[in-house]
């Protein structure tokens, strides 16, 4: 079984209108102009794994209120095993209004979701017993209000004690604290921060310093997004740069989750793990998502067609 963790899920609602105007009632009559789907980084990866043919995939995290039950139903529609702690507080809605002419994008992100201490402790207990069947745990995404930033650190510690591999995608304080529990693979993201480990990320040297620092702090392997490239830090100290060639990005949503899923998919399927090959697969999947309107991966053949447009060069650090 594959386990993914989503602590801060949301219901994403996309409304497509001809023109987004203030002080005007808009009426949407077509299903194509209204999309409602369950959001959360760990969950998107779970759906990717399911689409790639994995039998049992579970998503662990919090959901709350009546909207939480609706969220769970949408997750189950993808044949994912839902494994949620039900909170008192309703989960979030993210509303996106996309105007066609002129092309506009307006987003209202709801940050009202709050988790109580008792619910956090319940998640820890549930997590302990739910990972028995999993060899690898993917933890990804932000931390909701009410949950201490050491949550990933605690979850990784439990997973490592049970001999599981941990792939972590996190940011800010939660990332910094999580490194102490020595996750196997770490990839930071910059949704709310332009920093890694409190260091400003401006030029390439900053990114290289941050990658090395993360390894010193406990991460075995690190991959850092660097504009449209990735800087790869292998456990032997080697550093590489992965670069896509001749691309046209039309969609960011789901690209990093596709990267994580394809990286792990390669790791699950091979007997001779090659860090660079895993990243090539990840890069190809991210590139395929970025050049399509899709959020989820569907077939290995599709994204593997992008493999020859990726270049990896070793960096002298």
């Amino acid at each position: 079984m594959i386990t993914t963790v989503t602590l801060n899920p949301a219901i994403d609602r996309e409304y497509f209108v001809d023109k987004n105007e203030v002080m005007k009632n808009q009426f949407i009559y077509s299903h194509e102009d209204l999309k409602v789907y369950p959001g959360g980084k760990g969950l998107i990866s779970a759906i990717n794994f399911k689409n790639l043919g994995y039998g049992d995939v579970q998503n662990i995290g919090f959901v709350g209120g009546k909207q939480g039950l609706f969220f769970e139903k949408m997750v189950q529609k993808h044949d994912i095993i839902s494994n949620y702690i039900y909170t008192e507080s309703e989960i979030r809605n993210n509303v996106k209004i996309i105007g066609r002419e002129p092309a506009t994008y307006t987003q209202y992100n709801d940050y009202t979701f709050k988790v109580e201490k008792e619910e956090v402790e319940e998640l820890i207990i549930r997590f302990k017993r739910s990972i028995s069947e999993s060899g690898c745990i993917l933890m990804s995404g932000s931390v909701p209000e009410g949950v201490d930033f050491n949550i990933y650190q605690r979850l990784i510690k439990i997973a490592k004690k049970k001999g599981k591999h941990v792939f972590l995608q996190a940011s800010g304080e939660a990332l910094k604290l999580a490194l102490k529990s020595e996750p196997d693979i770490v990839t930071p993201y910059f949704k709310h921060h332009k920093t890694i480990l409190d260091m400003e990320m401006n030029d390439k040297e900053d990114y290289l310093r941050a990658g090395k620092k993360m390894q010193e702090m406990g991460a075995k392997r690190v991959m850092i997004p660097f504009h449209c490239d990735r800087l790869l830090f292998d456990k032997d100290g080697s550093v590489y740069q992965l670069s896509p060639k001749g691309y046209c990005i039309i969609n960011w949503l789901g690209a990093s989750d596709a990267y994580n899923s394809a990286y792990l998919d390669y790791a699950f399927k091979t007997d001779k793990f090659d860090f660079l090959e895993a990243n090539r697969r990840g890069g190809a999947a991210a590139l395929w998502i970025a050049e399509n309107k899709e959020i989820y991966l569907d077939d290995r053949k599709n994204y593997n067609s992008c493999l020859d447009r990726l270049e990896i060069n070793k960096l002298e650090v």
């Binding site: 994912i80 095993i81 494994n83 302990k128 739910s130 028995s132 069947e133």
Partner: protein
């Protein structure tokens, strides 16, 4: 042939024998499920906790035959009883049955079990006994409708 896994609800929503009745009640109303699976600390299915069972233990006299003239008194007594019961462990009130079905079982078998045992919900496990979710009468009806309309052929 249609299998349970084609119609089941996939969820790990569960309690353990060590959990308190209070925790089970909270989980029941938040998840809108009146029956929960009980698993051990490895997520292996070990039994079932029914809301009916909890009610039977807190409502005095004959559950289901509440006399309206005594209702107020009996509800108050149930509240008083629950003050003690809520901190007790699930293991005291759970049914240690093993009537779970396998996810690869034939749906025809489920129809037989549900109709003969009058179970409205059955928990689903894999071949090793790990919890996978549940299947209820509405899922059975869904399957039967598919059969009636030819999708199951």
């Amino acid at each position: 042939m249609s299998n349970v896994k084609d119609y089941m609800v996939r969820t790990m929503n569960s309690v353990t024998p060590d959990d308190s009745i209070r925790k089970a009640i909270i989980l029941m109303y938040r998840s809108e499920q009146s029956v929960l699976p009980v698993v051990d600390h490895q997520n292996l299915f070990v039994g079932t906790i029914y809301s009916n069972n909890i009610l039977k233990n807190i409502i005095p006299e004959s559950f289901g035959f509440l006399d309206s003239s005594h209702l107020f008194y009996e509800v108050n007594e149930a509240v008083e009883n629950l003050k003690y019961v809520k901190d007790e462990k699930v293991e005291k009130y759970m049914a240690r049955n093993r009537d779970a079905v396998k996810e690869n079982s034939d749906m025809k078998k489920i129809a037989d079990i549900m109709l003969n045992n009058k179970e409205s919900l059955l928990f689903v496990i894999n071949d090793e006994g790990y919890l996978r979710g549940f299947i209820e009468r509405s899922n059975l009806l869904h399957y039967l409708l598919d059969e009636a309309e030819g999708d199951g052929e």
